[in-house]
């Protein structure tokens, strides 16, 4: 069979060239995507500028440090010390984490590692359903169901365990604990879902290796799964924290909205987010009061920023230490 000569030329130009219009598509596509990405940066910058601008009257009236750390929120007297709000925010979030994260991680572990295959899917659906309930509904349920039903139990706990710090005294209807409990329920699906994803990326051979050594299931989880997932789970928890801090509606409905710092977890409290939602109506015409609310929003924003920054730093550091050095893989990236 006679060999045919290879034809490196076609259409009068080398096949190694492409029409100019085709070559334009790639850079255009890339530029569009970059523009969208840049939009995000522009938005954040905008945020900051505007919020600071509007918060300015109140901050200069009160002073930034005084705003943050003065324990006196009294709009009628034009005093805007937001410390009770900040404290309330942190307290309710802390309670939420303490209750919510262990349960969320336990759920994630159970679903991924221990549950029989048939049960896994329904369980996942059920946990995700918790996220389907919007915060206003949790608030509604909190007010009319949780608060009245838990009050006796809370009082019993306060009376029996009053030697513990922050426990004791008279249980107010809406209080920090209820707020923290509802927040825990609200952050559970997020923390669990992310933890679940992280846990399921543990390489099977890692798990099988420990099982092959004769480890029990729990030991396998402890030796292979948890260390590998540690950074991811921490990230999940931090996202839960951020969510808890910013949650407005459910909290404001069940925390009592009292601008003081309670001594017990069963006292009423207030949070930065709640104050904005509550006092916005009356502050509409008062530039100073409105400014104070914007300042509260700014603080919330900055707090969130810090938490996210901390979360990322933690995750990055944990990632570097827990993962073994990998060979440089040929990853097609944006080289062209």
């Amino acid at each position: 069979m006679a060999a045919t000569t290879p034809d490196v030329r076609r259409d009068g130009r080398s096949i190694l060239e492409r029409s100019p219009s085709a070559r334009r598509a790639d850079p255009l596509f890339r530029a569009t995507l970059i523009a969208l990405a840049a939009l995000i940066l522009a938005l954040i910058a905008f945020f900051f500028v505007y919020l600071i601008n509007k918060a300015q009257p109140a901050l200069s009236h009160q002073g930034v440090l005084s705003f943050l750390f003065t324990n006196d929120w009294n709009p009628s007297k034009q005093i805007f010390g937001a410390w009770p709000l900040v404290a309330g925010t942190l307290i309710s979030a802390a309670i939420a984490l303490v209750i919510g994260v262990p349960i969320a991680v336990a759920t994630a572990l159970f679903i991924t590692e221990l549950a029989p295959r048939k049960v896994r899917s329904p369980l996942i659906v059920l946990v995700e359903l918790l996220a389907a309930v919007p915060s206003v509904v949790y608030g509604l349920w909190g007010i009319f169901v949780l608060i009245p039903k838990l009050k006796p139990a809370e009082q019993w706990f306060a009376d029996s365990f009053d030697f513990l710090p922050f426990v004791g005294g008279h249980v107010a209807g809406p209080n920090y604990f209820i707020a923290g409990l509802i927040l825990a329920i609200m952050i559970l699906p997020i923390v669990s879902a992310i933890s679940r994803e992280v846990i399921s990326t543990v390489p099977p051979d890692l798990k099988e290796a420990s099982l092959a050594l004769g480890a029990t299931r729990w030991e396998m989880i402890r030796m292979a799964v948890l260390p590998y997932s540690r950074s991811g789970i921490t990230g999940a928890a931090m996202l839960g924290l951020g969510r808890a801090i910013g949650e407005t509606i459910a909290v404001t409905l069940v925390i009592g909205n009292s601008p003081t710092i309670g001594k017990q977890i069963f006292d009423q409290g207030y949070t930065l987010a709640a104050v904005i939602a509550n006092e916005f109506g009356e502050a509409a015409n008062d530039k100073l009061h409105a400014g104070a609310l914007f300042a509260a929003g700014l603080v919330l924003f900055v707090l969130t920023l810090l938490i996210n920054a901390a979360a990322r730093g933690l995750v990055r550091r944990a990632e570097r230490s827990s993962r073994p050095p990998t060979k440089v893989k040929a990853v097609p990236g944006a080289g062209a």
Partner: protein, 292 residues
Amino acid sequence: MTDPTTDTKTMTDSSTPAGPSGSHAPLTVPETPAREAVVTQAAPGISVTGLQAYYGSGHAIKDVSIEYAPNKVTAMIGPSGSGKSTVLRCINRMHEEIPGARAEGKVLLDDADIYGPSVDVVAVRRAIGMVFQKPNPFPTMSIFDNVAAGLKLNGVRGVDLKERVERSLRGASLWEEVKDRLNEPGIGLSGGQQQRLCIARTIAVEPQVILMDEPCSALDPIATLKIEELIDDLKQRFTIVIVTHNMQQAARVADTTAFFLAGELIEHAPTNDVFTNPSDSRTEEYVTGKFG
């Protein structure tokens, strides 16, 4: 199309050089009658001159020059990190897809320099295909669509897809096994079948050269053997360059073998010579198992 040399291909591992002591029998290579497979479609040769490749600031390939003969199989062997895969990826300009990586030099496909100034990398890759170490059929596509992917993705018109797909699957020795289930997902096949599917996908766009980056290292021995037989068929139509860490495989399939070390080409000669009578001492040390 059976290869007359199939019978003599049995290279058992018992003939592999023994342990670290150094005294061992040399690699026995079967008596190869001139593997002049019938050339049904003349493919171009590739001529590499002065190739340099970098990963960021790291100089990975140092001034490599090598010729890949048309319609022949050239194997590139060497220890890990010797640069053989990098050289391979420079041939179809996949190397530069890695962020921070670049390559310089002259790589002639027949008489066209694929690193020339007006050359478009996308077009280069249509002429020079690649099969990867881990079979990677597109998960959302059926077997048929996978093979046709190269044509569909590039909007190639005027091609009878069904005919091209069948021809490619036959060319990859996969047609008989999948002809009744072309609409099933490509990922439903076994590892060896997936790799042959990827080969079919590669030849469907009718390249002139096929590059193979350790195509059998993720496969079992039987699947490996099937693909090696396939390579022998394919060289009738394509020029083939194969990177392999398996020296026996090189001895089985390659007409010539090139030995790389630390980013440099040490030796390139007919396979038989490389394994039985290497001219460089480093080559000898590698093929007799002293390192790598």
